[in-house]
Symmetry: C2
Subunit: 228 residues, 2 copies
């Protein structure tokens, strides 16, 4: 049951390039993840949701948002076409990794609220928080929509084929919104960094997140999910 | 000479919805532009590139970036399919409005550097500046590529048809990068706002910029520039 088989084309030159771009995305994934860890462990004193230090509670937020909400979503997007298994398994990995990302995103929002509690700061004041909440909410809706339309049996094949392009477009748009929210968060921390070195590290992390997002989007585009 | 005629489809239900989404984008354009003016004139004391007050020099930057680099680019994207004229005119407006946007973007970068000069602040320190410079540079390349491939005569029709999807995808990606850069800039100013009212106004402006970008992207997607 290859859903949207007419949309997600395979084979040919584009597909080979797409595989190489996806491989580059994995490298960018690892680089970003390591940069984020160096920042939080070396410059910001560690990650602990149950700490008495509000800053350590806060550090949970960028950690799970970067790993969960940005990197896992990208990998879930790539998994749909790149895992060398049958299409049913690809779909399951796509769905499950997105679910883990959603749970981590909700945990990341919780960490931000808990930090505000501990630091006696108001919630949902910054543009970062508005964009982030919007991204998590839309992502949750998108996951639910996808689960009912594409995973559970009972939806007509023709309905699925018609809904697939909207699913791909909305998914990429929400991914870009999440990246946008991440960049606004990093900018806040970069401006408040304790040293020029820390600020540079944060900026470089932001650039790598962007490159990762572009690599994922290009891999999807080359898979002809978009064009034909 | 309808370039990419097989890609940019017309007519039908999707096209009517696309026209309505494009109309909504124009309303979002006006709202965003007015919010930006209220912010700069009412809260930040006016816009003047030749002022002795560094803040008034700075205000030129968000003004031309919002109007030029975000709003005009969106309108240029929409113009390609929505202006009720022959396709050659649509293309010319698309090309010329993008050129004005590019010139304004370069002027906006100049304003930021001039502000740093006047305020004795270092250049290109923030993640916002890195993302913004990247967006302007890529936009300039994209414009040059489009000018030679699609505007000047001499390129084979088949080459143009093959390059059109990449032009659309790269254009939307650069537009999203520009929006991302704008949001990071607004976040910096929101965090440093003089009052809670000003911060809220900046945040709302950021949300409207995002909604505008989404409306433009959806209008393009519905025009079938993407899917078929």
């Amino acid at each position: 049951m290859a859903i949207g088989g007419g949309i997600i084309g395979g084979g040919g030159h584009h597909s080979a390039v797409a595989a190489r771009v996806a491989a580059a995305a994995h490298v960018l994934f690892l680089t970003t993840a390591v940069l984020m860890l160096v920042w939080l462990l070396h410059f910001r004193g560690g990650i602990n949701i149950q700490s008495d230090d509000p800053e350590q509670i806060f550090n949970v937020h960028p950690f799970v948002m970067c790993w969960g909400f940005i990197l896992l979503i990208g990998e879930a997007i790539l998994a749909y076409t790149t895992i060398p298994m049958d299409h049913r398994t690809q779909k399951m990995v796509h769905m499950l990794v997105h679910l883990v990302a959603l749970i981590l995103a909700i945990f990341g929002v919780y960490a931000a609220f808990k930090f505000h509690d501990a630091a006696v700061a108001p919630d949902l004041v910054s543009l970062h928080s508005w964009l982030g909440i919007l991204a998590v909410a839309l992502f949750g809706l998108q996951w639910l929509f996808g689960f009912f339309a594409f995973w559970l049996p009972g939806t007509h094949e023709r309905t699925r084929a018609a809904a697939a392009p909207a699913h791909v477009a909305a998914g990429l748009a929400i991914f870009m919104l999440a990246v946008c929210a991440a960049e606004t968060g990093l900018v806040q921390k970069s401006a408040a960094a304790a040293s020029a070195g820390e600020a540079k590290l944060i900026n470089v992390t932001g650039i790598f997140i962007l490159l990762y997002a572009v690599a994922v989007a290009v891999a999807v585009a080359l898979r002809k999910a978009f064009f034909y």
